[in-house]
Symmetry: D2
Subunit: 407 residues, 4 copies
């Protein structure tokens, strides 16, 4: 362990990662660089500075990455209508590659030879951090304390804190959740505790970012989202930066009881786990993006996207954002978004985010003169359908004549 | 046109198909056999008998196909978590293959040489009827009056009725909708009229099977669905037939404002069209099925299903239910459902169908002793994760060492 | 038919398309513009000028498109290792989009309102020409004489020639093949005649571009192909243009009995058909491209390409080169080729095109120090494999413990 | 290491696995059960008995698994036209699941608590053995000596032999290859040594099962293969068991210089490796199976198979034969083979295995009356093609009218 001189730690300022600072200093006899990012988790990041300093950290990075996060990670992912296992909006997964990237960049800047993080050995996050780090800095070393140390019970951890004068109310006075939580501008997640019983319905006060549908206003809220190349650029006509778009949607959705999800998912490391997620803004963004695409995107492009989406979602979930295959898929996806321009009108009401209108001045492929049930003045020759059907049926007829049975 | 002696018509008893009866008799100088099926559209089918008789039809088939419809078509489709274009539950599409099958079976029984239907030349339904018919009876002839005749305006149609003594209130006294509608036990659809403007929000009284979320009860309804091999066999412990399951779910969902969808979709014949759909029960069934699978289905089986689902949905939408490729995919899907057994608890509330619990006595693959955040007593060795990550990262590291950039 | 003033015809200079010139002039009373392209079919194109002129054609386009054909169509397709139905190198399919593009460009230049071609109503080529034309010029009209006229027997055609003073030896004195043939720089195809019996082995003298393996030299020929970004830029160190690369490979392969294929394929219009193809150069290019990729392309990028290749091939075969979905797939494919640089050594011998070596100075991902069976000096920690296997097995073990059977 | 009482070893009778016998006895102080299978590797298995006995092994399993191997593993795999990375016939991969299955079955029979194998920590085979074992016997322990011991050089291994009186000419007097080889009835593989330079062409005498194309007979050999449900049941009219079919094809192909492959492949554990393979019979079987399918299999079924094949191949290569997803895919594949019946005629000549004819008495979907270039007597209405093309082009035209560019 003597070959580690300096390590960059993804440092939240909380108790666990504070313990890691000490443990790294002691175990590896190395310098620790802390990196604390505001990715919209809704907590102050500045207090991490004093804490790190108090533990003797000399190089302290505190950064606001919210715009970069939404612009370069969340938005590209939503262009693909991405859902993992049909339901999960990948709120945790999508934040990890950005952290991994900054960790190794800071390691290079500071001459560190390793990075470290506070993710456990059972979860997906260790994989996402480390695959990203290795992909961007192949010579980097990774220290994953939770896989190495023996502080694997709350008691041992507390003892370690006492031994090393780490104040146990480090994380502040805020109400302690019984759940393991992770938050960023896209979502907040809950795991562990009672959720380990998949039959158990979470109690109302677990949820933090949204009111319940029951508690939401009795009148709906209508909003209009403006899209350019598949990304939201304005809400109700007001142009906003990516992070501001997502912040505002989180507020609107959360106020209307929108964005809760309760699932059992399959982790990359092999087990099933229960997760509850609040993704208020994202829960509006998914159907809204599909709606603007429904008007402006060619059918076969849309179907091609749908056919590769599960793979794309799996890559992000499994931690392969920084991989050539994700990039190649992104090229395909982005190539379809040039004309995904226009407006979507959404109704928000007690948990429901409903598309009620979509329009595009220049890029609509919806041609009412063809689709109409009224006289179309020759725009479409119904007789063409006969040949279309006949030739599509030809192989089926030949097989049936051959005596093939369809059962 | 002299080679048609007898034609089996999919006859609703309504005005349009009544016109077709007359038009076929006159144009082809042939006998018409009418086939009217109860597939849960919510209208009496028996009145069709007298109407057909009045027009001189001698062979009249009136059948209750609700159980067959749900058991052999709806249920298999839901095993695949099928959605067309990410959103549409395929309510219209899935009823067509059954009608096509009965049409050609009746043609064989009655010695008819052709079938006929009332679908227009612009839509998907003509394709679904005809592909199905050709696949099952390769020598059958198809007469699609809307592609052939010149009664392509309301006035001409009315004139034809007058000329042939067809009472124009044939369809009964019920409120006339301004929309083109289609219904079966799975859903009701609305097209045309104001909906041809995709920015226009449908008025509340268009919807027929559900109350609005606003009008739904202020207290949630909880239900428990019991699954066997991927199919619902009981609601709240009461064993029900497939059609009874769906009927009951329709009622429960409709009462709670659940099941409305408003989309622009891509038709197989090439244009985009606006459709509004009410699929009350189906909107419960989709997340519920995913929930029971989340507990009982292997990860890679689930992902494999997800990867072929868009293709499977496209096949059904496009009318290829009766095709060898749909059957081959069904084999794959059904092979995954043997252990999809257990219960799902759902909360129904003002438009939301939310999974709040899932359990399986014998088939749960959720292993709390492994997934736990607590001490797992050695069920999972966290150190394994290092090797897992290292080998998964190997190709990425080699590439990065080679100087490859990921951007 | 009075609304056609001018039509651009894909004119080979042969008998059939000469008949079409006359038939168009007469039937549509319109001006005909002829377009004759050298795409490497191995026949003089210049003689078409005099023939067209003799029939009164005023606007005559004769173009050498060989470089454009290989550079913009053949090369991009080979980047994807494209095979239709596992075997067919798409020699005919890939030439059609270029012809379609020039037809509509010439139509625009000359103010023509229609295009025309000599493809029959049973084949894929009509589809490829017309889809391409419609995609690039949505308002164009298409005249497909073989679907319209009644000259559907050799006798009627000859009578038409006699009536219109078209010399029946128009196509020249060269030996008449009993097969329907099509050629370009990538391949030559044979259909019809005896080939309509799929059990019948084609006689040796059907093949035109290659000697038989039996007649090929008894000594092998070795060549080295140099790749840049997935495209061949040099043979045996000599830099060549795309068309010159393909010409030279055709010669080398043909001389060594390489490139024959005899298959039954599935046409887009619904029937199976027997086709024999000679694709000499292409038969070298496919394994060579795979070989250079095997050294320089990341595993998952390669597998991703393989997973979309059948779809990509189908698009080209079916005539959707000019479609947004083909373009989106091309973006994905091209994004993987930046590092596909290096040399492949091939042995050509009596029908076999065998890879015997591959190297890349800067882009090889083959790391002998890791892969070696010898001591690797710590480049790879074999113990990592245990964790890798254990976690990959976890879901399988949980299922087996649950009593799941794998059979 | 005290918890292992008995271990079943995949024992070849060669030096390495003999060392493992001793090493296991000594290291784990446990009983060793040897399992030696004839899967067509072309070496006597019976001598393994005396060797095992001499080392004190009491339970010795020696089995002829050739028929089971071909019938239950090779044949199902060939139904899918399986190729890994476009070229590799998976000869090594497909034998592993059978060995894994027998290992755990014997463990159960003999009350052993572990299995062991002689695969290294760098290769795919360890993964295949162990995933299979864990999937079938979730509680089994696995001992992989090459990942554990320190005998990682030839010298240490020799010293171990000397120390434990293991005769170093254990493997017999046969010529020692400089390559790492693996053989079964489907193929023989070569790795390591000079092959670690991917530019190096293997010397002629490396290959063992085939003559070179140059040395093959100057006259071709013709054979006819008869298929039932996708499997070969007879050669030249003689019904043969699966293993006899493959043996005979190996002989025919090997004699004609057929079946050599030289590739760089991507291992599951993350690195690229060079492999040379001789798969004589398999190299005939692949195009032959495609040929009989080309006549008897529906187009869309064939394309569906092609679209999932890369995934299926990857599963087998990576060691997931014993997984629910492979089984689900197998259901899909097998569902397409019911009508894959008939004969394929192949020409074997100096490295080439060429299809020259295919026929099926009852299951041919090739309809010459439709496909013909001659008059088809109305079997196909060429005018249908116009509607087919028009509707397929509709979305492209609408997009082009909207001003979309295709580039």
């Amino acid at each position: 362990m003597s070959d580690i001189n300096k390590v960059v730690l993804a440092y939240s300022g909380g108790l666990d990662t504070s313990v890691i600072v000490k443990w790294l200093q002691e175990t590896y006899n190395c310098e620790v660089v802390t990196f604390t990012a505001d990715i919209g988790q809704g907590e102050e990041v500045e207090p991490a500075r004093a804490k790190a300093k108090a533990m003797g950290v000399k190089e302290i990075y505190i950064e606001d990455l919210r715009e970069e996060f939404v612009r370069d990670y969340v938005y590209p992912m939503f262009r693909a209508n991405t859902l993992y296992e049909g339901e999960y909006l990948l709120g945790t997964s999508i934040a990890r590659p950005l952290i991994a990237k900054r960790l190794v960049e800071i390691a290079e800047e500071t001459g560190a030879d390793a990075i470290s993080h506070g993710a456990t050995g059972k979860g997906n996050d260790q994989v996402r951090f480390e695959l990203g780090a290795y992909a961007l800095a192949p010579g980097i070393q990774v220290i994953a304390p939770w896989r190495e140390w023996d502080l694997n019970s709350r008691e041992k951890l507390m003892q370690f804190c006492e031994d090393h004068q780490i104040p146990v109310d480090f994380a502040g006075k805020k109400k302690k959740s019984p759940y393991s939580m992770d938050a960023n501008l896209l979502h907040i997640s809950y795991e562990g505790g009672n959720l380990e019983d998949p039959w158990w319905e979470p109690e109302e006060d677990m949820w933090r970012w949204s009111v319940s549908p029951e508690a939401a206003p009795d009148a709906p809220t209508y909003i209009t989202l403006t899209y350019e190349k598949g990304d939201i650029v304005a809400i109700d006509g007001e142009r906003l930066s990516p992070a501001d778009v997502l912040s505002k949607l989180n507020k609107l959705a959360g106020d209307n009881g929108i964005g809760r999800l309760d699932i059992v998912e399959n982790r990359y490391v092999g087990m099933k786990s229960r997760g509850c997620y609040e993704t208020p803004g994202g829960t509006i963004m998914l159907p809204a993006h599909r709606a603007i695409e429904s008007l402006t995107l060619d059918r076969e492009s849309a179907h091609l996207k749908d056919s590769v989406m599960p793979k794309y979602a799996e890559l992000i979930y499994n931690g392969y954002w920084w991989s050539p295959e994700r990039l190649a898929l992104q090229k395909l996806i982005d190539a379809t978004q040039d004309n995904v321009n226009g407006d979507v009108r959404m109704k928000l009401y007690k948990g429901n985010a409903t598309v009620v209108g979509r329009q595009s001045d220049n890029d609509s492929l919806f041609d009412a003169s063809i689709a109409t049930f009224e006289d179309d003045a020759g725009a479409y020759d119904q007789k063409d359908a006969e040949g279309f059907i006949k030739l599509n049926a030809l192989r089926l007829r030949i097989a049936a004549k051959n005596g093939r049975k369809l059962s």
